[in-house]
Amino acid sequence: MALPIDIARMSVGYGGPPVLTDVDLAVREGELVALVGANGAGKSTLLKVIVGLLSPSTGTVRVLGTEPRLAAPRIAYLPQAEELRWDYPLRVEDVVAMGRIGRSGTVTLGTNEALARVSATDLAKRPISALSGGQRQRVLLARALVSQPELLLLDEPATGVDPATEEQLMEVLREIASTGRTVLVSTHDLAGVVAHFRRVVCLNGRIVADGDVSLLRDDRVLRETYGGHPPAGPFDYADEHHA
């Protein structure tokens, strides 16, 4: 059985110097993986390579046993919320229904069913311009669930989201992973990673570390991930709470 994500010696850039160099990454079915790193570390770039929006300059990328472009209909990708035009005259149900476009041949969920999964049925008729940050993320996740993807890629879903909504989003993601589907989430929120994930991949132009979230206890890992000025590690916050 082929791995959902199987990347070997991959480098990629936007024409200039490479953004990511020599990336090796293997993710198994049903894994829930956090992708951390500073701005510009290559988190979004890696997600875009996996979904086939960017082609690697060297190395190999296999997704769901095939080329990324061919796997696209079986992947759901949530772009960063700020890349979308939330001022459009659309209702939540219109956005969720977009999850069906380009997915002919796959069995899709109904719009209301997808909204129910993220506890947002009451939002169906709401204009998208009236949504909070947390509601936007729930709507985008519902749109992703419509196509029942085998692989789910989320770019910074925790940004601008209140703790209660983040908890709820993570609950949905854990449920998806428990049914044997694979979830990869990029994030800035190290405390959230420790609380909700088991595996973390630290990026800084390359893979600095990859393994159990306890890696984030390691000062050397944090320093190499975030350069000279690492943020307070997630466990520092935890210690403060106990103090």
Binding site: V51, G52, Y77, L84, Y88, P89, L90, V95, M98, P127
Partner: protein, 274 residues
């Protein structure tokens, strides 16, 4: 109260009202995307770029709409292509192509020594001079435009609202963008005869912008844009008939009046609820 049926005794008036209505509908359809994607300047540029095509069609004694649409669609696609390949911002590319094409039209225009009333009509609009042949071509183009917009409505909205997500889902985003540019070019070529090159942008932008002020969802925006466009076209024709003013300009003035009233009404209502 003037007899509203009286102008309809003249065939040229009926043709003019039908032509203006067709323009209102095609401009509403593409105008919604022009407003949502912020392409008003592009629309203005494409209409000016149609000018040399119209002049060449006149010199070759072929249909002016066909000449205009070739130049308009060609310029629209050229702007898209050059922006992507040159690394220049789109507004710079639009400025270069639009001014260059319009200059070509002006130079060719100056070479014509015969009577050029038809061509002045193209610049300022000559809806009363619309022939039956032109109506048939305009109607055919309108079916193509409205049909394509309807058939691809979900995809066109998806690539406009969330281009990255649409590309990730495997949609050919560049092809849908090119389709939209082509349809805008065709709509402009159809409209030039009615309101003239200089004012086409108003038909593209004003009714859709008015609808955008108050529409809560897309179906409502479509209904309101078509409504504002049609009422402006027909009312503008009547006013220009009775007051004896230029019809293209009058239609645009009525549309602008709707925008002003809608904006004032919305501001007043918001002020009250605040």
């Amino acid at each position: 109260m003037p007899d509203l049926l009286e102008p309809l005794h003249y065939g040229f008036v009926i043709r003019a009202i039908v032509a203006a209505s067709i323009v209102a509908i095609v401009c509403a359809g593409v105008g919604i995307f022009v407003i949502l994607r912020g392409l008003a300047f592009l629309g203005d540029a494409i209409s000016h770029a149609a000018f040399p095509g119209v002049v060449i069609a006149f010199l070759l004694k072929t249909n002016l709409i066909i000449g205009g649409s070739i130049a308009a669609i060609g310029s629209a696609l050229a702007i898209g292509l050059i922006s992507r390949r040159s690394g220049l911002r789109e507004d710079a590319t639009i400025g270069v192509v639009f001014a260059g094409m319009f200059a070509l039209g002006v130079v060719l225009f100056g070479r014509i020594r015969t009577y050029t009333g038809d061509l002045l009509g193209i610049l300022l609009g000559d809806v009363l001079g619309v022939t039956e042949d032109q109506l048939v071509i305009a109607a055919f183009a309108a079916i193509v435009i409205v049909g394509a917009l309807w058939f691809f409505r979900r995809e066109l909205i998806f690539v406009s609202f969330d281009p990255t997500g649409a590309a990730a889902a495997g949609l050919p985003v560049l092809r849908y963008d090119a389709l939209l540019l082509g349809l805008i070019g065709l709509a402009i070529a159809v409209s030039v005869q009615v309101v003239g090159i200089v004012l086409v942008v108003a038909m593209l932008v004003t009714p859709a912008a008015t609808a955008r002020l108050i529409a809560r969802d897309l179906p409502e925006m479509v209904r309101l844009t078509v409504g504002f466009g049609l009422v402006s076209a027909v009312a503008g024709m009547y006013v220009s008939y009775y007051v004896n003013t230029a019809s293209g300009g009058t239609i645009v003035l009525v549309a602008t009046l709707f925008f002003a009233l809608t904006w004032l009404a919305r501001s007043a209502r918001r002020g009250r609820t605040r």
